[in-house]
């Protein structure tokens, strides 16, 4: 069988070094230079994701999972190393593409869609489907700042879920909105994920979700890959490790 990679990551390093905010006032009052804080979030990891594969990433808080995901989405640039998406379109299905608070939900749908690389016409075509899925009723024409947090995340989820991209990155969105929407979004996500052509990377703390959905699980610890492979094996070892420490 021929393996086509959708994502190829090589020696990825991401650090937060030298990026401390400064203020003119502080520099005037204090004459010694502030020490640059050196924090390396991801320490040279390499991995591949095959086309159509579902990769889960697990690890304790601060182990670099979300940083990796953001780097894949192109929001962070790697300090060194290469991320090759082989020309696939990609979207981060977290709590949504950002909204402009003063604008209506409908306008935000178009704006978000355009930021994800769709044309206005393409978004318009799917607009009704998104509105129906989000189930916001007449609120869709109200400014987003009037939304409750549940409505906000429902709309955000619906936009990224209905405007499908080749690669989807999912950051802990398995629980959005009320009980009913949770079920709906979970089912939608499952159908999105199980589409054979779609490559998916999920970051989650839920062991059962990862075991159920993923083909491969990657365990990250302190910015390094501790283990990558069969979900059951990796997850068992992860649980054991977490209980011990």
């Amino acid at each position: 069988m021929e393996d086509k990679y959708a994502i190829e990551v090589k020696d990825l390093v991401i650090s937060y070094r030298n990026l401390k905010k400064t203020s003119i006032k502080r520099n005037l009052l204090k004459f010694q230079r502030q020490k640059a804080e050196d924090f390396i979030a991801v320490k040279g990891i390499s991995f591949y994701v095959r086309e159509g594969e579902i990769l889960g990433i697990i690890g304790k808080n601060g182990s670099g999972k979300s940083t990796t995901l953001n780097a894949l989405a192109g929001i962070f640039s790697p300090d060194s190393g290469v991320i090759d998406l082989k020309g696939h379109s990609i979207s981060l299905l977290s709590i949504g593409v950002g909204f402009q608070r003063e604008m209506s939900g409908r306008e935000n749908i178009v704006l978000s869609g355009m930021l994800l690389g769709f044309s206005e016409a393409q978004v318009r075509e799917k607009e009704q489907e998104i509105i129906d899925f989000a189930g916001l009723g007449k609120f869709i024409d109200m400014p987003v700042r009037t939304y409750s947090s549940g409505m906000y995340s429902k709309l955000a989820f619906s936009i990224t879920a209905i405007l499908e991209t080749d690669i989807m990155l999912i950051d802990e969105v398995l629980s959005v909105g009320d009980q009913k929407f949770k079920k709906k979004s979970y089912n939608k996500m499952k159908s999105l994920i199980s589409n054979k052509d779609r490559t998916v990377v999920i970051v989650s703390h839920s062991l059962s979700t990862l075991e159920e959905l993923c083909d491969t699980v990657m365990w990250m610890h302190d910015g390094e890959i501790k283990k990558i492979g069969d979900p059951k094996e990796v997850l068992d070892e992860y649980v054991e490790f977490m209980e011990k420490s």
């Binding site: 400064t22 003119i24 953001n70 989405a73 962070f76 604008m103 209506s104 704006l111 355009m114």
Partner: protein, 261 residues
């Protein structure tokens, strides 16, 4: 870099236009009279300045209210965009931290919004030219290259403020002070050429691009004079250079913005 810029503009200009329209619309939607404020605000300031400087300080300029209004129109566009560009990345955090877009697009959207308001003011100026019976000559054509140069310069400076605004927390305070200085050095309600003593008037009038563009604009619209064409061309190229450098600066650093905000 130029190719990347071209590609990105092709990809995002529709977003920029849609976003500009949506922002203008949302400003109107909040209160129906908001668009009226786009007209009323500069008009009121014009009346205040005309009263204080025309009546109290006895300034004598031909067509004084129009003279002031042209000043306010161009100054507001510059001033608002500068102030907003310092905070623009932080303000758009929800977008910047969720999806990639070239950050100068955010600046372009703001410039679109402010530019539209400037456009309305310009329409008012046209109306005022009729009311005050200003003899308009063919030299009014020069207002177009003057506006283009202004836009380039604003964009160039805006790019740098956008970049440094991310890393320097209290930059907006400094920008506020500097802008106030520039405001008085620009001559919104006086003619720097006649009011400042020699040779400082020439220094300020030529080295402060906003002052230069402003007085050129008045020259060609109100007094039918040809502006200093060589200097205008020079500032056009300076604006182009600053813009190119600003775009380069943003491209080099924009991916680390989200780590800081």
């Amino acid at each position: 870099m130029f190719n990347k810029f071209k590609q990105d503009m092709k990809k995002y200009w529709k977003y920029a236009i849609y976003s500009t329209k949506a922002q203008l619309k949302s400003e109107v939607a909040n209160s129906y009279l908001n668009w009226l404020w786009w007209v009323l605000e500069p008009l009121c300031f014009m009346m205040i300045y005309a009263f204080i400087f025309g009546e109290v300080f006895q300034q004598k300029e031909k067509y004084f209210p129009v003279f002031i209004f042209i000043g306010i129109t161009l100054w507001d566009f510059f001033n608002k965009t500068m102030l907003q560009s310092v905070r623009i990345v932080k303000q758009n955090k929800p977008i910047v931290s969720k999806v990639y877009l070239p950050k100068y697009i955010l600046l372009l959207v703001k410039m679109g919004v402010n530019g539209f308001k400037m456009f309305i003011s310009i329409l008012i100026i046209v109306g005022m030219l009729f009311v005050w019976k200003v003899p308009v000559t063919i030299n009014v054509i020069y207002s177009i290259p003057i506006l283009i140069t202004l836009i380039l310069i604003v964009f160039g400076f805006g790019c740098f403020l956008l970049h440094f605004g991310v890393f320097v927390e209290d930059l907006s305070n400094v920008v506020n002070i500097v802008l106030r200085l520039v405001f008085y050095m620009t001559g919104i309600f006086w003619n720097i050429m006649t009011k400042l003593p020699e040779p400082y008037n020439v220094y300020v009038g030529k080295c402060n691009p906003i002052a230069f563009l402003l007085s050129s604009m008045r020259d060609c619209v109100l007094y039918g004079r040809v502006p200093h064409r060589k200097l205008l061309l020079l500032w056009f190229f300076v604006g182009l250079a600053i813009s190119a450098l600003g775009i380069r600066k943003i491209y080099k650093n924009e991916n680390s913005y989200v780590k800081v905000i």
